[in-house]
């Protein structure tokens, strides 16, 4: 079974530029998550989709970050304009269920490492 795919793996941009990340979850998984992991910290949830609807985006900086999950499958996360503090690894994860289940397993992709100069 193929895992969660993410691209690009690395991205270097200058501040105020725009950047987009792509995620392809495991086939059939209903829930998709985007996390931000700053160096030395644990992942922080940015947004959670159930199929193509948003379940939780309370920690998404909506003035610069946006995300969509078209047709309930692939997802893109965009930052416009980027700031220095956005330098981090952006992780995508998916789970089979609707999120919130005690034994639900999230499967993570390898992440996109973003450096903002």
């Amino acid at each position: 079974e193929a895992g969660v795919a993410q691209s690009p793996r690395y991205k270097i941009i200058e501040k105020r530029q725009s950047v987009a990340f792509w995620c392809n979850p495991i086939s059939g998984h209903a829930t998709l998550y985007w996390y931000q992991q700053i160096l030395g910290q644990g992942p922080k949830l940015l947004i959670q989709f159930q199929n193509n609807g948003v379940v939780d985006d309370s920690q998404l900086p909506k003035d610069r970050f946006s995300a969509e999950r078209l047709k309930g499958v692939d997802s893109t996360l965009k930052i416009q304009p980027a700031k220095l503090e956005d330098s981090a690894v952006y992780l995508c994860a998916s789970s089979l269920g609707l999120g919130g289940g005690a034994y639900e397993t999230q499967y993570f992709g390898p992440g996109t490492r973003l450096l903002v100069l």
Binding site: V4, Y33, Y35, G40, Q41, G42, P43, K44, L45, Q48, V55, D56, L91, A93, L98, G99, G100, A102, Y103, T105, Q106, F108, G109, P110, G111
Partner: protein
């Protein structure tokens, strides 16, 4: 905000030693998971604990959920270089309606051969 604090933040030990990593919170969690993350990869689930006082074993790894479901520990016996990585605890908060995990800041373990 439900915070999970992990200790220690860093741990460097010799092969064959034992170690314990802690995950503490003031909040009650419905369940708690432990993940291991290697450089350049995403976290991989090791175990899920749900019941207060629950103990689970995965080969040389022993996981325990506190009686009050506010804390957890991970004990590794006879550590090996392959255990090197970032260990993350993550909890599903109880009574908040949130359906997403809250992650701790992690414990970075290095096992020297």
């Amino acid at each position: 905000t439900q915070l999970l604090e992990q200790s220690p933040q860093f741990l460097s030990i010799q092969e064959g030693e034992n170690l314990t990593v802690y995950c503490n919170s003031s909040s009650v969690f419905s369940s708690l998971q432990w993940y291991r993350q290697e450089p350049g990869e995403g976290p991989v689930l090791l175990v899920t604990v749900v019941t207060g006082g629950e103990v689970k074993k995965l080969k040389r790894l022993t996981f325990q959920f506190g009686d009050a479901r506010k804390d957890s520990s991970l004990h590794i016996t006879a550590a090996q270089p392959g255990d090197t990585g970032l260990y993350l605890c993550a909890g599903l908060a109880r009574g908040t309606g949130r359906r997403a995990l809250t992650f701790g800041s992690g414990t970075r373990l290095q096992v020297q051969p």
